[in-house]
């Protein structure tokens, strides 16, 4: 995927038109001088490009015309209350769910047509999707290492178990792990293939503060080392402020605002991102200051 800047001079090409269309949909900047300081238009090389995404289940619309970009090498948060459409959006990004309309491009590939071209370069973790309970941690990781086509899977599994300090319970069935241990194993599975794009659904849900902090530090270190792009759904605003450079706010299936965390805090005149979240969730207050 070419960068937006690199497309300058190629105006009119399909790639330019696609990036321009999405960026225009998510940002109201119209003047070039504003775009120069706008964080959305400063997005270079979007790794995930979502355009007019719609998902209907019968008469109910779960996601309603969502467009956003995830820049390369950065962490973007997808925020919203329960039922806002975050999980549905992530499921569509992963190809588990087919959208009613709209387009998704990940690493330059059309996910609706060619998702198998990029699935080995992505991965996913969620506390709501289990690994087989009766298999040991090591067995689960070995299977996923092979599914992702990881070279020398035994060595890779040993390395990731060392990194995430899960060696001591490597031979324990996954169903007999504590919440913290399960999260570390899920993270190990998500990082087995050293993904360029990582989708994380509440990666620190139900973890004690110490373990949660350890997981965040690990993710930061992983991103520094590999330059991976991360899309994160979380209800922990402190976590989002710490990890994310961009935030996409959803409500009732639509994007209601987006920007850098500090930018949103300033725009809504709140003390922190939690205040912004509450303002948006309680719609009558959702008027930027």
């Amino acid at each position: 995927m070419p960068t937006v800047e690199s497309l300058q001079g190629h105006e009119g090409s399909p790639e330019w038109a696609r990036s321009e269309r999405v960026l225009s949909a998510v940002c109201s900047c119209r003047l070039a001088k504003h775009r120069a300081s706008c964080h959305i238009h400063s997005v270079s090389d979007p790794v995930i490009l979502v355009e007019n995404l719609v998902k209907r289940f019968g008469a109910s619309t779960a996601v309603d015309g969502v467009s956003f970009v995830v820049p390369r090498g950065r962490t973007t948060a997808l925020l919203g209350g329960n039922g806002a459409g975050k999980t549905t959006t992530i499921s569509m990004l992963l190809g588990l769910l087919l959208p009613t309309s709209g387009s998704i491009r990940v690493l330059g590939e059309d996910m609706l047509r060619h998702r198998h071209r990029v699935l080995s370069r992505m991965n996913f973790s969620s506390p709501y999707v289990d690994l087989p309970h009766r298999l040991t941690v090591r067995e689960n990781l070995m299977i996923y290492a092979r599914l992702y086509g990881v070279d020398r899977p035994t060595r890779r599994v040993a390395a990731i178990m060392g990194d995430l300090q899960i060696g001591e319970f490597a031979n324990r069935p996954s169903g007999r792990l504590s919440a913290g241990q399960k999260t570390r194993v899920a993270l190990a599975k998500a990082l087995l293939n050293e993904p360029e794009v990582l989708l994380l659904d509440e990666p620190t849900a139900s973890l004690d503060p110490d373990t949660a902090d350890w997981v965040r530090s690990y993710l930061e270190a992983y991103q520094r080392r590999t330059g991976a792009s991360i899309l994160l759904a979380s209800h922990n605003m402190a976590e989002v402020e710490r990890l994310c450079s961009d935030v996409v706010m959803m409500r009732q299936g639509r994007i209601v605002d987006q920007g850098a965390p500090a930018e949103l805090v300033e725009r809504y005149g709140r003390a922190d991102l939690e205040g912004v979240f509450l303002a948006i969730a309680r719609r009558s207050e959702a008027v930027p200051a």
Binding site: L119, R121, L147, R155, R225
Partner: protein, 285 residues
């Protein structure tokens, strides 16, 4: 180790192969490994596999011994009932082999992880068939071998036709298994009972223990539309007439090709529907 505590292995050393092959035997192997790990780690599962075919064989062995002296039909070929029960179990266990492995993924709510990986539905389906074959061998070999010292009957005396019968019954069971898998994808665990019961509706019209000719005319039409009935007719021709019926085998094989194609198409269609309805993430215990 790096400062962050991570092992810096680098993509060129241990990272993913960027393979996007349409069909990868390595991914099929990974899934077979997943089910083998499960079997290996649970002796009750292995025991359960062996238990019922062996009990069935013992019951029908004694029944055959009794009937051999009281029924001229069984008397002509002592193994006709034992052979039938063993081959029927190949069909039943073959279908269960597909369905149970499939159900394991629903019970463990693992489908979400599987299908965000490069695994393709067809590769998963093939791994289910391989597991079905492995489970049938684990289930049937002890029962077939035990019948030799217990009743002096060896199903292996059927010779090469036995391989043809077993192969056709396995393929027929896979077609049913694929269809049940599709129903599970469409209806979730609410359709779990189908996995255990579906094949029994085929039992009366498969002419397992009696010839197709005893069925009423309209049911004979149904029976001859099933590959299983051709296999059991073929088995009886070997045992009573000592001839291998190529026409029965041709019918069974031809019908299997049709049903397997239909089963696979139904499975892939159901998978597509599940992606539209979002049921891949919603299946579970």
């Amino acid at each position: 180790m790096t400062e962050s505590g991570m092992t810096d292995l680098g993509m060129t050393d241990t990272g993913t192969r960027r393979a996007v092959r349409a069909f990868s035997p390595a991914r099929v192997y990974a899934m077979v490994l997943r089910y083998v790990y499960l079997l290996r780690g649970s002796w009750p599962r292995i025991l359960e596999l062996i238990y019922w075919p062996t009990i069935q064989m013992i019951i029908w062995g004694f029944t055959s011994q009794f009937m051999a002296t009281n029924s001229s039909w069984v008397g002509q070929a002592f193994g006709v009932l034992l052979g039938a029960v063993l081959l029927w179990d190949v069909f039943f266990r073959g279908q269960l082999g597909v369905s149970i492995s499939f159900l394991e993924e629903l019970w463990s709510r693992n489908l979400g992880h599987l299908f965000v990986s490069p695994l393709r539905p067809l590769e998963w389906a093939v791994s289910l068939l391989v597991m079905s074959f492995i489970r049938v061998m684990i289930a049937m070999l002890p029962a077939a071998l035990l019948a030799i010292p217990m009743f002096g009957y060896s199903v292996f005396t059927l010779g090469l036709p036995l391989a043809a019968f077993v192969a056709n019954l396995l393929v027929a069971s896979w077609a049913v298994g694929m269809a049940i898998g599709a129903m599970l994808l469409l209806n979730g665990l609410g359709a779990e009972g189908l996995a255990w019961l579906a094949v029994f509706i085929l039992s009366p019209v498969s002419a397992v223990y009696y010839p197709v000719s005893v069925l009423p005319g309209w049911l004979q039409v149904v029976a001859f539309a099933l590959p299983t009935s051709h296999v059991f007719e073929g088995m009886r021709k070997v045992m009573f007439d000592h001839v291998f019926s190529w026409s029965e085998m041709a019918w069974a094989t031809g019908l299997n090709v049709v049903y397997m194609a239909l089963g696979a198409a139904f499975f892939l269609w159901a998978f597509h529907r599940a992606r539209i309805r979002g049921s891949i993430l919603q299946t579970g215990e």
